[in-house]
């Protein structure tokens, strides 16, 4: 397994998601009623609405991710939550939705985001086999190596976790790829805050062990 931290882009100028306070606010809120509409219809119980919603979210996320990586050569560190929020700002008319719509959107986007990033990582890996094209994720900006993890390794480990405890894997997915607040995750999955905290902490320890302590740990 390759190193987690060693290959991440250390040049902040290459990183995505905005280091300053303006980075993420750039996206203008575009009037895009259809997504907002589908979202509200879905929440109201229209199951078909999700089928209409997903492709729109997926397409937007892919564009956001493409944009984020277009000018990047070598290793890239991404903040998926920043990308999801950027897509959210573009697709959703914030004045018309409440927090539940936001949570549903982000929950939908979390899974799509994970797929989009894994596709990107695989495509890059196929292009260059020397390992220099790694995509890593970070939860903070600027990326801190302690919070940075290789995307494909994380995806694999999460698949393993899913087999053991699907709910824990979903909590991590919502938090890391969707950027949902814990209160939103708790409401969505109908979990108490104590249970949710424990799920996240337990999953985090399991993933930390799989990704850092075993095999793919950082170099000295």
């Amino acid at each position: 397994m390759p190193h987690v931290g060693a290959l991440q882009a250390r040049d902040e100028a290459r990183n995505v998601g905005g280091g300053g306070w303006t980075g993420r606010g750039r996206g203008v809120v575009v009037e895009s009623a259809s997504v907002t509409d589908w979202l509200q219809r879905w929440r109201a119980g229209d199951r078909d609405a999700l089928d209409r919603l997903l492709p729109l979210v997926y397409t937007e996320l892919r564009q956001v991710a493409d944009r984020a990586m277009r000018h990047e050569r070598g290793a890239v560190t991404l903040q998926p939550t920043a990308l999801v929020h950027e897509a959210y700002l573009k697709l959703i008319d914030a004045s018309r939705v409440d927090w539940r719509d936001r949570a549903h959107f982000l929950a939908t986007a979390a899974r799509a985001m994970r797929q989009v990033l894994v596709e990107h990582a695989r495509a890059r890996g196929a292009l260059k086999r020397d390992g220099g094209e790694r995509i890593t994720l970070s939860s903070v900006d600027p990326p801190d190596p302690r919070h940075t993890v290789d995307l494909l390794a994380l995806d694999q480990a999460m698949a393993q976790l899913e087999a053991l405890d699907a709910r824990k894997a979903r909590v991590v997915e919502l938090r890391v790829f969707g950027g949902l607040e814990f209160s939103e995750i708790g409401a969505l999955l109908e979990l108490s805050r104590a249970t949710l905290d424990r799920d996240f902490r337990s999953a985090r320890a399991w993933l930390y062990r799989a990704l850092v302590l075993d095999g793919s740990g950082p170099g000295p």
Partner: protein
């Protein structure tokens, strides 16, 4: 796979228990199942270490957009970091629509309103155009503490410098404005503690603005302590050693963080890659590892623009001890302004260890014509580089090689930083450092033959640079022997170093088989084409020195073809090869071809290294000599003057390369009949050689050229003193019949004769002439000049 479903649910239960009850739980649940117990212990250990992993903001309060906080309405999230999350907000009461940034801090920080009131006077004093104002503080309905700040639109300073494509001087200009703002805050006794690019935004008009100034003050004011460990925000990449250790923090910590920032602005990378997840690892890296120079880290394009003075300024700010850094931002800024004005910087007056490091690093790949040469220590030995390139093809090998390169670097930088600054002369200190490293080698690196060999090859290069050829040979030979069982390519790389030492010791016969074998080894693999070119470069020099010019030209031509094919057209390796081929053409009596080659090399070095780089100056020196050979004295004079000016600026007033250039210039002025100018230039040559410990080839050369110009100018008494010094030194360095030594004898004889000691002088001139005729023949330039001299000064 780690842990089954049952393990995980047991772990959940374990997490729900208070610490005190965990042991009993583990003993009960794992009775008789050691594997399960080990699994759970491992997960507990992971849990302890995983704080912040995947989600640094897990400990931060939730916050939602479109919510009211005091008189403000949150618009959307701007960003988040380890310390808090930031939202863009505007006043909800519509009194005025000024936008602000609201930063929510960790829940355990409590209500900040009272503290903000207490500190209002100090925070108001932070009023400065380069500092974003703190407007308010408090806690929201859920108890989450927050601060309200002036909203700044801009991009992080690092990204701004890239996107605006600022050159080095412009980057320093922006950085100076940051220093001014920090200086203002320090004058109010406010320390930032978390300076980093994300906190320094540059507006579209180029004005930098610092965020978060005063927050640390706000947090500390209750405790009345210097340290607020745990509360204090800290970004490991920018944290000073004292900060990482949890020691008291002062203005010096901000200066350190600014040093990291300047490093990053210049080199494009930070001094340390903290590629580790444990705090202990971070502490070791920040506290114990000496940073590389920015110029050693920078991409080639940038490297040329970062000279040694600038390196020193950055390294001074990054000093491990607060007392070793600049005492204030004002002092830091003054030194940078001195740098911009082309004045020597204060940071140059540094410790002996750093001077030694600088000295040893003065690397030429092989501007072999003359000149002292050293290998870049930190760039690593040739071995490590050769292998690193090969490693590109195999990722698995790559990490092992990187690891080795890092260990070599760590060993050597450790050795240099351990130097005793109390020791005397620079040369002595470097030599003693190398001796100490050589002794430590087996103890520290004994188990790994390739790492030890890398270090020994590097030591050999460093000894070479000091002209200490015996230990250089010892280390180079040992490295070569150590690799008897290693890969042929690794052994061949060590052979190159050994051969270079042999050539410089005047043992070309011993070098030739090594080089030919190494060349054949590299020839077998397209990946090592550049190593083959390195072998060709040395073979070219070897044959050129022996007068086999056709052979030399063939090797240079092959190397040039390889380098042209493999490297960009502006590579310095190509420049070196063209320059060396030029020297050969000059020696072969074709100064026209030589001049064209030197001119081409010069264009490359000007482009890549800049006009005032020592390498550029060296090529200018070669160009000047060739012009002198062509009797183009005006052209030679101009090239000499430019070379001297660049060397004075970059190498200092006393340096062997400068002495050599001035001495050659003196020779040229003599030939041009400008005797008064020659005397003046010769005096400067001797002054530039003053720091050299005799006997030294450049010292002898300077005295000889000065003496000859004094003789030509009719100052025979003074000439005797200089020429005697030159002859004495050469008698101690060169064999009896060496042409340079004989030429020196002849000159001294002429001066003695001219000063009145006619018989003694005549006899010396006659003896030297006889030996020159016997060894070089009647037609050699030296023989002819000695004969003319005897005729002119020896007349009865």
């Amino acid at each position: 796979m780690i842990g089954g479903g049952r393990t995980l649910s047991l772990f959940d239960a374990l997490l729900a228990l208070p610490d005190a009850e965990r042991d009993a739980f583990l003993a009960r649940e794992c009775a008789g199942d050691a594997a399960l117990r080990a699994e759970l212990d491992a997960l507990l250990a992971a849990d302890a270490a995983a704080e912040g992993f995947l989600d640094a903001s897990a400990t931060l309060p939730d916050a939602r957009t479109d919510e009211r906080v005091g008189p403000y309405r949150l618009l959307h999230e701007l960003g988040q970091g380890g310390m808090g999350r930031v939202f863009l907000a505007e006043r909800a009461d519509a009194l005025y629509h000024k936008r602000v940034a609201i930063k929510f801090l960790r829940l355990d920080l409590g209500d900040l309103r009272a503290r903000f009131a207490n500190e209002r006077r100090i925070l108001a004093a932070l009023d400065h155009p380069g500092i974003a104002k703190l407007l308010d503080a408090g806690s929201d309905a859920r108890g989450a503490p927050y601060v309200v700040m002036e909203y700044v639109e801009g991009e992080p300073i690092t990204r701004h410098c890239e996107s605006a494509r600022l050159d080095v001087r412009a980057r320093i200009g922006v950085f100076l404005r940051v220093l001014d703002a920090v200086q203002h805050a320090h004058a109010q006794l406010v320390v930032h503690r978390d300076l980093k690019p994300a906190n320094i935004l540059v507006a579209p008009d180029g004005t930098p603005k610092l965020l978060d100034f005063g927050i640390a003050k706000l947090l500390e004011s209750d405790a009345r302590e210097l340290t607020v460990t745990g509360l204090a925000p800290m970004t490991p990449e920018y944290a000073s050693p004292e900060q990482v250790r949890g020691d008291p923090i002062g203005t010096a910590s901000d200066i350190y963080a600014l040093g990291v920032l300047l490093f990053e602005l210049l080199a494009g990378e930070r001094p340390y890659s903290i590629a580790t997840l444990t705090p202990a690892e971070i502490e070791r890296t920040v506290c114990d590892t000496e940073p590389a120079r920015p110029s050693a880290v920078a991409a080639t394009r940038q490297r040329a623009r970062i000279d040694r003075d600038l390196d020193q300024v950055v390294l001074k700010a990054l000093h491990k001890e607060p007392g070793g850094r600049y005492a204030s931002c004002a002092q830091f800024g003054d030194d940078l302004r001195r740098y911009l004005d082309g004045l020597p910087v204060m940071a140059r007056a540094t410790s002996t260890a750093q001077r030694a490091l600088k000295f040893v690093r003065r690397h030429r790949w092989g501007v072999a014509a003359t000149a002292a040469v050293a290998l870049a220590l930190v760039a690593g030995a040739g071995l490590a580089l050769a292998q690193a390139r090969r490693a590109n093809e195999q990722a698995a090998v790559a990490s092992a090689e990187r690891d080795r390169a890092q260990r070599v670097t760590a060993f050597l930088t450790g050795m240099l930083s351990a130097a005793d600054p109390a020791q005397g002369g620079r040369e002595v200190t470097v030599a003693s450092l190398l001796d100490a490293a050589s002794k430590d080698l087996d103890r520290e690196l004994g188990t790994d033959a390739e790492t030890a060999a890398s270090v020994q090859s590097t030591l050999a290069q460093s000894y070479r640079a000091l002209g200490l050829f015996d230990p250089a040979l010892r280390e180079a030979q040992a490295a070569y022997d150590r690799l008897a069982a290693a890969s042929p390519a690794a052994r061949a790389a060590a052979a190159l170093v050994l051969a270079q030492v042999r050539i410089e010791r005047g043992e070309p016969d011993a070098a030739l088989p090594l080089l030919e074998h190494a060349r054949a080894t590299f020839d077998g693999d397209p990946v090592t084409a550049l190593e083959r070119a390195a072998a060709d470069n040395l073979l070219g020099e070897l044959h050129s020195q022996a007068g086999r010019y056709a052979e030399a030209r063939r090797h240079y031509a092959e190397a040039i073809a390889t380098v042209r094919e493999r490297l960009p057209p502006q590579s310095t390796r190509l420049g070196v090869l063209l320059d060396n081929l030029g020297v050969t053409q000059g020696r072969a009596g074709d100064p026209v071809a030589a001049e064209a080659l030197h001119a081409e090399a010069l264009a490359i070095f000007r482009q890549v290294r800049g006009d005032r780089h020592p390498h550029t100056a060296h090529v200018l020196f070669n160009l000047a000599n060739v012009r002198e050979m062509r009797d183009d004295f005006a052209g030679a004079d101009a090239a000499f003057l430019e070379a001297e000016s660049a060397m004075r600026a970059t190498l200092g007033e006393t340096h062997p390369e400068l002495a050599q250039t001035l001495a050659s210039h003196t020779f040229m002025l003599n030939r041009a009949g400008r005797h008064a100018d020659a005397v003046a230039r010769g005096r400067e040559a001797v002054a530039a050689a003053a720091a050299l410990v005799p006997p030294h080839p450049m010292s002898a050369y300077a005295h000889a050229m000065y003496g000859e110009s004094l003789l030509n100018a009719g100052q025979a008494q003074e000439a005797v003193v200089e020429l005697q010094a030159a002859a004495d030194q050469r008698a101690r360095m060169l064999p009896a019949d060496h042409p340079v030594r004989l030429n020196s004898e002849s000159l001294l004889g002429a001066a003695l004769a001219a000063s009145g000691a006619r018989e003694d002088g005549r006899a010396r001139m006659q003896a030297a002439l006889d030996r020159l005729r016997a060894t070089l023949g009647e037609q050699h330039e030296f023989t002819k000049r000695a004969a003319r001299r005897l005729e002119r000064f020896g007349a009865r």
